[in-house]
């Protein structure tokens, strides 16, 4: 660890701690399901460990054939983002289908009631 990395390490650590605090508050109110909570916490703990051990992160990245640790994190983040977007679209479609069923049922019942 060198003084050169210290400002960015302090900055990122602060953000991670704020995220962990918010996560704790949400978890207390049961706003998150357990599998998602586990993945979310694991991700941020890995980020926290990585910023204080950049050499280790680079070693892991090289094991996957990627040169720099930060590139490895970016690629992983992109994969996670695309998956998140896909799952959002699937959920959106489910919500849309449910809304369609409700509108349809209301419309048909309205006709039946008038007859």
């Amino acid at each position: 660890m060198t003084l050169y990395h210290l400002p960015s390490q302090v900055f990122i650590s602060t953000i991670v701690l704020i995220v962990l605090l918010k996560t704790y508050q949400s978890a207390k109110l049961q706003k998150m399901n357990k599998p998602f909570l586990f993945i979310w916490l694991s991700f941020w703990l890995i980020v926290l460990m990585s910023i204080f051990n950049l050499g280790k992160l680079s070693q892991i990245a090289q094991a996957f054939g990627i040169g720099r640790g930060v590139d490895f994190v970016i690629y992983l983040s992109l994969i996670a983002l695309f998956y998140f977007l896909y799952s959002l679209m699937v959920k959106y479609k489910q919500v849309q289908e449910n809304m369609t069923k409700i509108v349809r049922e209301l419309a048909i019942r309205d006709v039946k009631n008038k007859v």
Binding site: M89, K93, E97, T100, V103, A107, I108, D110, V111
Partner: protein
């Protein structure tokens, strides 16, 4: 006079029309169609004009969506209503804008009544398409190729709203695509449900002052079909 052209058969013919802001045409369409069918169901997809009033005055049973869902959703609402109200009906889907020829209903339902077919699909390329813009023709032809690739079915007209369904087939069809991709979805379901189908010639009239489906809408259809296939 209503019913003068109806074919004498034991089954009720029910025409389902999905309509959105078609107050100008819907009355004439409903009155003309009622000469060839016992029931007309107009599904008003939350029009902001007087479509439902005009349709009702003309003699249709009107079902009104609370908010706009799309033509696919409106047709399925009509199918669900018919299944519950007149379960042994032959169902015809028909456009609300006056593009189709009501007198062709009699010919279109014959394959279902006496030919043993479960689905009849109208084709403007086997029949007539008057005043069709060139770009629309190109897009429709591309749609035929795309549909062939996605469903394995080679049709001469893959996006025609004039269709006939037998009483048993209409109970099996379940349209989930709310917007214009429902046309391809119907074909997919005909294939997967192994329904016996046939194409018949129909007339489609294009009007200069009518927009109809936009050409850009074709890209949205493509997006919806691809997402449905891979989700």
């Amino acid at each position: 006079m209503a019913g003068t052209h109806k074919i004498q058969n034991k089954k009720t013919v029910c025409v389902v029309i999905a309509a959105f802001n078609e107050a100008a045409a819907i009355s004439q369409v409903v009155k003309s169609v009622l000469q060839y069918a016992e029931q007309v169901v107009v599904v008003d997809d939350a029009s902001i004009d007087t479509t439902s009033v005009e349709a009702s005055k003309a003699g249709a049973t009107v079902i009104k969506h609370l908010f706009n869902l799309g033509q696919g959703a409106a047709l399925q609402t009509g199918f669900t209503f018919v299944n519950r109200t007149w379960p042994e009906s032959i169902v015809v889907t028909f456009d609300a804008d006056g593009q189709f020829e009501p007198s062709e209903i009699s010919q279109a339902i014959k394959p279902v009544i006496s030919g043993g077919y479960q689905v009849v699909l109208g084709s403007r390329f086997l029949g007539r398409a008057t005043g069709m813009p060139f770009l629309r023709k190109v897009l429709l032809k591309m749609g035929i190729v795309f549909n062939w690739f996605m469903s394995g079915v080679h049709l001469t007209d893959a996006h025609n709203g004039f269709r006939v369904f037998s009483p048993d087939s209409i109970k099996q069809i379940n349209i989930r695509q709310n917007r214009m991709a429902h046309a391809s979805e119907i074909i997919d379901q005909i294939v997967s449900l192994k329904l016996k189908y046939i194409e018949v010639p129909v007339t489609v009239r294009y009007f200069r002052n009518r927009v109809g489906q936009s050409n850009v809408g074709s890209l949205q259809i493509l997006r919806d079909i691809v997402f449905e296939k891979f989700s």
